[in-house]
């Protein structure tokens, strides 16, 4: 039998990962992505409420000031959430991957003048360097390392929810749960919000799907499943009929976009998670 020569592993230095993570978190926190800015401009054009228009104009003006002065767009520069795609033909050299990421977060939050917002759950003592980060790793074919940095603010994360629905609740039950969650969030989550919906899998997978859904460009529909694309469109209309409006001060634009992702689930379950993202939707990525 022929023995195939094993593919040589591609080596990626830990120091390069640190530098990349550092730069991504600073960039994400100071420069709002084009898709979010475009969605905000569309919202400004569509908003009927005068105060709502003023709020949207201020949000856009703030993004310009933050970018031009390298200042954080929001004072809440977030918990450092990372999504990694690690090619299975990659070998990290020069230190553990987790340490390389932690050091990148440390450097970003110190050198970028970003707020350190991580603490002990009970004593509330600040860890003072914004670590530990929240790291989600997927092992994928290939020899690349894709790093997505997503600083996530506390206000909108607090308004997020997961629920284990019964199978009988179906698609309507999911929509109802999303609407309830968004209405309850009100002004707290800094509308206009982006709504990530994760359906299926297990409890924790539904949550992860909901967060991953937030990585899709704002306003882009689900391309894999027509039922979800329709649900997104319907929820977008229904959420914007709630009247909450920009900053919760009343208006038409309560959401900039709804993104739903789905996976099969257990025959007993219908897990659903709603991850709410404020209008300062920050994510930046680089592939090494």
């Amino acid at each position: 039998m022929d023995k195939k020569k094993p593919k040589r592993l591609r080596r990626i230095a830990a120091g390069r990962i640190t530098k990349t993570v550092r730069n991504l978190f600073i960039a994400a926190n100071t420069t709002l992505c084009d898709d979010v800015c475009d969605a905000l401009r569309r919202a400004l054009a569509q908003e009927a409420s005068p105060i709502g228009r003023e709020v949207l104009a201020k949000i856009l003006q703030n993004a310009d000031i933050a970018r031009d002065n390298a200042l954080p767009i929001c004072q809440d520069t977030g918990l450092a959430v990372l999504f990694l795609e690690v090619g299975q033909d990659v070998r990290i050299v020069g230190g553990p991957l987790q340490d390389a990421i932690a050091e990148g977060v440390r450097q970003a939050y110190a050198e970028g003048f970003l707020r350190k917002s991580v603490c002990d759950p009970f004593t509330r003592a600040n860890t003072k360097d914004n670590t530990p980060a929240v790291i989600h790793c997927d092992i994928v074919p290939g020899d690349h390392l894709r790093i997505i940095a997503m600083p996530k603010g506390g206000g909108s994360e607090n308004m997020s929810q997961a629920r284990m629905l019964t199978p009988a609740a179906g698609l309507d039950g999911v929509k109802q749960f999303v609407l309830e969650t968004v209405e309850k969030a009100g002004a707290n989550a800094c509308p206009p919000i982006i709504v990530g919906v994760g359906i299926g899998g297990s409890l924790e997978e539904a949550c992860l799907l909901a967060k991953k859904a937030l990585l899709r460009p704002v306003g882009a529909k689900n391309e894999d499943d027509d039922r979800l694309a329709k649900m997104e469109e319907d929820l977008f209309r229904k959420i914007n009929a709630l009247g909450i409006g920009p900053a919760g001060l009343g208006g038409r634009m309560t959401t900039l976009g709804v993104s739903a992702v789905m996976k099969p689930c257990h025959i007993a379950s219908l897990p659903v998670a709603v991850n709410i993202q404020c209008h300062v939707a920050r994510h930046r990525e680089e592939t090494l």
């Binding site: 206000g155 009100g186 900053a247 919760g248």
Partner: protein
Amino acid sequence: MSPTTSADQDRFLRISTPLSAEVRARLRAGDMVLLSGDIYTARDAAHRRLHEALVRGLPLPIDLSAATLFYAAPSPTPVGKVIGSIGPTTSYRMDVFTPTLIEHGLRGMIGKGNRSPEVALAIKRYGAVYFGAIGGIAALTAQCVKHMEMVAYEDLGPEAIRKLTVADLPLVVINDAEGNDLYAQAQNDWRILTE
């Protein structure tokens, strides 16, 4: 929500801290104001400490009766700047402490989001006022801060109490002394019922 033209100026009431009884009595939910003067940052951890001191009868590091609290923790100050970015955090987390603080003299609060019925009641009973600031425009809001100094609980890092001197900080009155609530009114006005 800051005035850009002279016609715009008329829509804003200019007020200063400490907030007088007359001003507080006059403010109504929906009023847009430009606030100037000294205010203090205090959020979750600082509230816990202030509340604990009050319950135990210990002295406070700030005079509550003259204070307006801004539920905020700024990002670190870059070299050559007065302050980093700053904006409101969500207020409901302070609700468990707020009625006690109001009983002890607090009359002005700045944050975002709904308050509990207990806080709304204390606002009405004591003639206090709750202002909303816009979240997520923190680089812009920072331009209203002219001076910042550390006052108390420095170990809390971003959550420490800092005194800010602000000029024309744009705010909206959310809960007034008459018991009105702008968020509820505004949502009611803009909701589309047929959906």
